[in-house]
Symmetry: C2
Subunit: 213 residues, 2 copies
């Protein structure tokens, strides 16, 4: 069975949990509490030198970085697919997901929040403003992309979940956690609702995890 190192609030772990659920892959979980610093322990550093979650172990293969894990799962366990077949559509789906994975989410992870507050002395209001600003910028870009994409509807692309929907869900979840206004993004929220009606997504939600507080 695969082994997943995870933290319930980690959006990157959430992405991998969704993909594992969609593909029906069982996994044995090890919980790291990022706010308590479990990721800096020597034994975990040997597993993941970047000291972040998730890490997925599949047999002899040690996988890191959520998008690399999602692509691996899609190559090795192709059903159901997380990418469309056409090269241009695959690029759109990956580009959409990267708005969350590469541009928005890395700005609001614990290590960044700690640096902003502990090293740079940001106030709680400035910290919340930072988070809402960048989560909102990503949501706005997603809304414009969906408005412009003929193949979007219940899902970002086509009639089944892809990497784009996974990235959308993990953009909306922290927006809700931090009280950002999602009303300017009706297309995004329509897709979010479609996805969260699917058990593979709903069961992967941070609030449903055994380590949730």
């Amino acid at each position: 069975m695969m082994k997943l190192y995870t933290y319930y609030r980690s959006q990157a772990s959430f992405r991998v949990r969704i993909a594992l659920n969609l593909k029906g892959l069982a996994h044995d979980d090890t919980y790291l509490h990022l706010e308590k610093g479990d990721q800096f322990a020597a034994d975990y550093r040997a597993v993941n030198p970047q000291m972040v979650v998730p890490t997925l172990i599949d047999g002899d293969t040690r996988l890191f970085q959520s998008l690399a894990i999602l692509e691996y799962l899609d190559e090795k366990y192709p059903n159901p697919p997380l990418l469309p077949a056409d090269a241009a559509a695959r690029a759109w789906v990956r580009g959409f997901a990267l708005i969350n994975i590469a541009d928005s989410h890395p700005l609001v992870v614990p290590r960044i929040r700690h640096y902003l507050t502990d090293d740079l002395g940001l106030s709680p209001d400035q910290m919340t403003g930072w988070i809402k600003h960048w989560i909102g910028a990503g949501l706005a870009a997603m809304e414009e992309l969906l408005a412009d994409h003929r193949e979007s509807g219940g899902f970002c692309h086509g009639d089944a979940p892809t990497l784009a929907d996974i990235g959308l869900v993990t953009q909306v979840t922290p927006a809700r956690t931090f009280g950002a206004d999602t009303s300017p993004y009706p297309r995004v929220m329509r897709v979010y609702d479609t996805c969260m009606a699917i058990p593979a997504f709903a069961d992967a939600h941070p609030s449903k995890q055994p380590d949730a507080e």
Copy 2:
């Protein structure tokens, strides 16, 4: 011919220029000056709603987000490949590249620097400290990964450039621009030197672009 919207200093544009060069694909370039705000013009916003570079146009296909573009180019123009054949190796290469593309680089792009200085009032020293801290964290993670990876040597993986090498180069370049110390990362710098001896990499360097200042 493909059309590339680019800015010489953009590390994301640099990545795409390297891939286009490696694959021998000609492109007609449109230069946007990000510090002057060219990316916010209405006509560019219609091309790329996220108002970032690069955007690549291939026939009827409009491509955004550098990693999505690299994957597209590798799928549509497979020679030479930018990913190894084996699923586990592909995941390692993608995960390595994402340390730059998803975790480090998004923290130091112009829009973040502007928010930190203009909205949060960071001093020039704090700004430089921020950049060096996060670029250094990525370089440290890359160094540990290379030390731990049997297939690394002149290149990150195997004997030809992959997405990992592209991400490594665009991690090192801003480190040099901002005067970060690269001496703790000898494996990273060895790969950097191997890559920059290849014209496809060297010719794509920011300093070689027609819009360089």
